[in-house]
């Protein structure tokens, strides 16, 4: 279950003469699965008696070409991008952090607990900063057990992060219902941060400025992973832990660092959703973005810019399909089908590519 195989295909060195071949591979490996997934999903729609052209047209129109829709799309990107930043770190370092949903929720709850308390006590920017900081910290803390178990005892992180995510979702609910409950309402939810005190909006739009920070986070992660000493250390640990130990790297310590960074970003994602959009956490709220972002990051082959592009389109799909559920009568869960077929075609494209390269050799 090594991620190093995927790593092998990541960011191939740029040889000028091979540009065309690279472009061809990009088409097969990236655009191919997208086209195949959209087409297959269209067939599924057709089977349900829905005209796919109408549906896709509506989604694109709503998510990309209507003013409000586009603003919603861009706002929705922020938490997804923070999650992507975290996943890029862990996947490039060969670690399956499948617990981002729990880290995300606890981060959001932590920010929801702290920010209203600071409201009016400290300046607005400091409140927001503190909210992000505590969310990142709580997210990171939630990965400590899986991190230590993996780093020092070799316990598979897939099982432990999944456990911690179930635990985290329940804990978030307990905290919302019992500890940080807003006494002013009858619905179980945390105290609401007034819209004016949330993350500022961009220009005259409804787009949350969380987007800017999220894009910056993804780009930063990308640069750190590809251009710095730390990034190379983490990639070495991910690709071949034996080689890393041989080169004198402290594999356990770097592993813990990867977990902390990855889960920290998931916590920041929670904060960006809370401080930018929702303003409070309601009981039983769990958007479960984590499993959705994983395919997108894979599709981008852990590349930062690629992830931003895919998340933009996915975000538009989410927004478009939300209103399509009301207007066209296709449940929003259709996006799950689309993402699932995307993942499967992605796997098939990799397989085809590998076979072709083997034959050519």
């Amino acid at each position: 279950m090594s991620l190093s195989e995927a790593q092998a295909d990541v960011a191939p060195p740029e040889v000028p003469g091979r540009r065309n071949a690279q472009l061809g591979r990009f088409a097969v490996l990236t655009l191919g699965p997208v086209v195949a997934a959209v087409f297959t999903s269209a067939l599924i729609l057709l089977a349900f008696g829905v005209n796919p052209v109408t549906y896709y047209g509506f989604v694109v129109q709503r998510g990309l070409f209507s003013g409000l829709g586009l603003e919603q799309t861009l706002t929705r990107m922020a938490p997804l991008l923070f999650l992507a930043a975290g996943l890029i770190v862990s996947f490039r370092a060969g670690i399956w952090n499948l617990g981002v949903d729990g880290q995300f929720l606890l981060g959001a709850v932590a920010a929801a607990a702290l920010a209203p308390a600071l409201l009016g006590v400290v300046p607005g920017w400091l409140m927001l900063l503190a909210g992000f900081a505590v969310a990142g910290l709580v997210g990171a803390v939630w990965s400590v057990l899986p991190a230590l178990l993996r780093a020092y005892q070799g316990v598979n992180e897939i099982i432990t992060t999944l456990m911690m995510t179930f635990l985290g979702i329940s804990l978030a609910n307990v905290l919302v219902k019992l500890v940080f409950l807003d006494p002013g309402t009858t619905v179980p939810q945390t105290r609401t941060i007034p819209v004016a005190d949330r993350l500022p909006r961009l220009f005259d739009s409804t787009i949350s400025s969380g987007l800017i920070w999220a894009v910056a986070a993804v780009l930063l992660v990308h640069l750190v992973m590809t251009r710095t000493a730390l990034g190379l250390k983490l990639r070495t640990v991910g690709a071949n832990p034996h080689a890393a130990a041989h080169a004198g790297l402290s594999v356990p310590r770097l592993t813990v660092l990867v977990f902390a960074a990855s889960a920290g970003f998931a916590g920041l994602a929670g904060a960006s959703e809370l401080l930018g959009v929702n303003g409070n956490v309601r009981a039983d709220w769990n958007p479960a973005y984590g499993l959705m972002v994983i395919p997108l990051v894979f599709l981008a082959r852990f590349h930062g810019v690629g992830s931003i592009v895919f998340i933009f389109f996915y975000s538009a799909l989410l927004i478009g399909s939300e209103s399509a559920a009301r207007r066209v009568g296709v449940p929003q869960d259709f996006t799950l089908v689309l993402v699932a077929t995307l993942l499967i075609f992605l796997g098939l494209a990799e397989w085809l590519d590998k076979r072709r390269r083997k034959e050519r050799a």
């Binding site: 190093s4 092998a8 710095t228 070495t236 690709a239 080689a243 130990a245 041989h246 080169a247 004198g248």
Partner: protein
């Protein structure tokens, strides 16, 4: 094991008849023709040696006979008739059993479970039958098979006996042993030779694959030599029986290398004046594990301009010693001193910066990251250090220039420094890793099996480099399982057995035979002779 109660499908051939053969077989792998138009006939009642260097095509032939690979051209014949072996199952059904170079037993299963592995899954293992037959094998061939032991707990030699036992349980007609003596002591190898003899007398066709000339002579009835994938020639049984060992070795060398010049080069070791003490190891011990023996109380000292060889059968603590010196493995007691400075508590990186270098024996799994380009691999041990990084930021042009420099100086054959290192051949990766260890300020280099798995040309070049390193004033610790290599290069030879250094001998170039005998005795745990220091 289709069904343990039955013999295999094919009828046993008569003595001297062709049991299995290759007819004009060619097999290609990406970039190489591994086997090129080879024809062979393996006869019942013979021990047939397949001799050749690494890369001569021996293992590919084994793979095809075992049903793991299929010939691209030509075919395999069984009992003289053309046959296809599409899977290991078909190969087993044809009565061909293979003992692979790497043990093919499941370490977590018991010996008994490994013996019945491959039988239909709904069957109940026939315990009583197997016990009875194992009893016979113990009596006839001296095979020790502890049925209820966990396989992974046994030594590699014992595991190999289990594989042979498994082959015999299946009533095979052809038994293939691929590099079977590489994990055995000299005495264990002799016992294996004796067993092969008895099996051949029973009418089995035994194929013994090796690159060791003396074993080929002592154990074989017929010797076929492969050279770079081609059939280079054969020494027939009557011819072989009439030859002395020296004559046979000359003939084999002639077939292997094309000319009569001896591969065992003269021991032209110029005497180097020994310098000051560089590396001192005192009482070093490591904790053992479930699958490896501990290093116990190892002490040695290496001087400048000196090559200290470490001899021993593979897996007797050599790797543990090397890793403990490099700082890669925690030690329980003892110390490592570099130029008078105690570095026992220092990290790998710190030791490296002080001039202590370690070239691992595992080029692919430990020495390099196959998916990374050559350039990144050349600086893998210096991540974050100037001049390749400044303030943690990579300086790609510096790294590329460094890589190009190493590629040129160590004549590495690669399309460029951006090629993933995994695409390079073993010899070229080895050159690059050597370059990596020698760049910067190095004072002592620990080599762990530096020529293992390389072809003759690269072996010669590597040995020359090691010699030059010592002549340049560095201290060299050379771990090798190839005694000829140590006799050729080392000034002194320490011998390891069961995790201990059991003796250090001066390698007297004037008396190579005596040194060889003395080292050989120490390797198998016999009392040191008078040659010890």
């Amino acid at each position: 094991m289709r069904d343990l109660a039955r013999t295999s499908d094919a009828a046993p051939p008569e003595m001297g008849a062709e049991a299995v053969g290759l007819v004009n077989v060619t097999k290609r792998f990406p970039g190489v023709v591994a086997v090129d138009d080879v024809s062979l006939r393996i006869r019942s009642g013979e021990v047939h040696v397949l001799l050749g260097e690494n890369g001569a095509g021996k293992s590919t032939i084994v793979g095809m006979l075992a049903g793991l690979q299929r010939p691209d051209e030509g075919h395999i014949s069984i009992g003289g008739a053309p046959a296809r072996l599409n899977s290991p199952l078909e190969s087993l059904a044809a009565g061909i059993n293979t003992v692979f170079q790497h043990v093919m037993l499941v370490p977590t299963l018991t010996v008994f479970e490994n013996l019945v592995l491959g039988d239909a899954w709904w069957h109940r293992p026939p315990r009583a039958l197997i016990e009875r037959r194992i009893g016979e094998l113990r009596r006839d061939f001296g095979l020790e098979v502890p049925l209820d032991a966990i396989t992974g707990d046994l030594s590699l030699g014992q595991q190999q006996q289990i594989e042979i036992a498994r082959a015999l349980l299946r009533d095979s007609h052809v038994l293939i042993l691929d590099e079977a003596t590489s994990m055995l002591t000299p005495r264990g190898a002799d016992e294996l030779g004796e067993r092969m003899r008895r099996l051949a007398e029973r009418g089995l066709a035994v194929v013994f694959i090796t690159h060791k000339l003396s074993e080929a002579y002592r154990f074989g009835d017929r010797i076929s030599v492969l050279r770079q994938g081609r059939f280079a020639g054969e020494i027939a049984p009557d011819a072989l029986a009439a030859m002395s060992e020296n004559a046979a070795v000359d003939e084999m060398l002639h077939l292997m290398f094309g000319s009569s010049e001896s591969a065992v080069t003269e021991l032209a070791r110029p005497a180097r004046p020994r310098g000051a003490s560089v590396l001192k190891v005192s009482g070093l011990s490591t904790a053992g594990g479930p699958e490896e023996m501990p290093l116990t109380d190892a002490s040695l000292e290496v001087f400048a301009s000196e090559i200290l060889g470490i001899a021993g059968i593979d897996g007797n603590g050599q790797k543990q010693l090397a890793e403990a010196i490099a700082g890669q493995r925690p030690v329980t007691t003892g110390s490592v001193t570099l130029e008078g400075r105690d570095v026992t508590g220092e990290s790998v990186g710190r030791r490296r910066a002080l001039g202590l270098r370690y070239l691992t024996d595992d080029r692919l799994m430990e020495g390099s990251v196959g998916a990374f380009p050559v350039s990144e691999n050349t600086v893998l041990k210096e991540i974050g250090a100037p001049p390749f990084w400044s303030y943690g930021l990579e300086r790609p042009s510096r790294i590329a220039a460094h890589a190009q420099d190493l590629i040129r100086r160590f004549s590495v054959r690669t399309p460029g420094e951006t090629t993933p290192i995994g695409h390079l051949s073993g010899g070229n990766i080895q050159k690059l890793l050597l370059g990596r260890e020698l760049s910067g300020l190095s004072k002592v280099v620990v080599f762990n099996k530096p020529t293992y798995g390389l072809d003759m040309q690269n072996i010669t070049a590597s040995r020359q480099r090691i010699r030059e390193i010592a002549e340049g004033g560095m201290a060299v610790l050379l771990i090798s399982t190839d005694l000829d290599e140590l006799l050729e290069l080392a000034d002194r030879i320490a011998v390891m057995d069961r995790g201990r250094i059991c003796g250090v001998l001066a390698n007297d170039a004037a008396r190579p035979a005596e040194v060889r005998t003395a080292v050989g005795r120490l390797m198998v745990g016999e009392a040191p002779s008078g040659a010890a220091e």
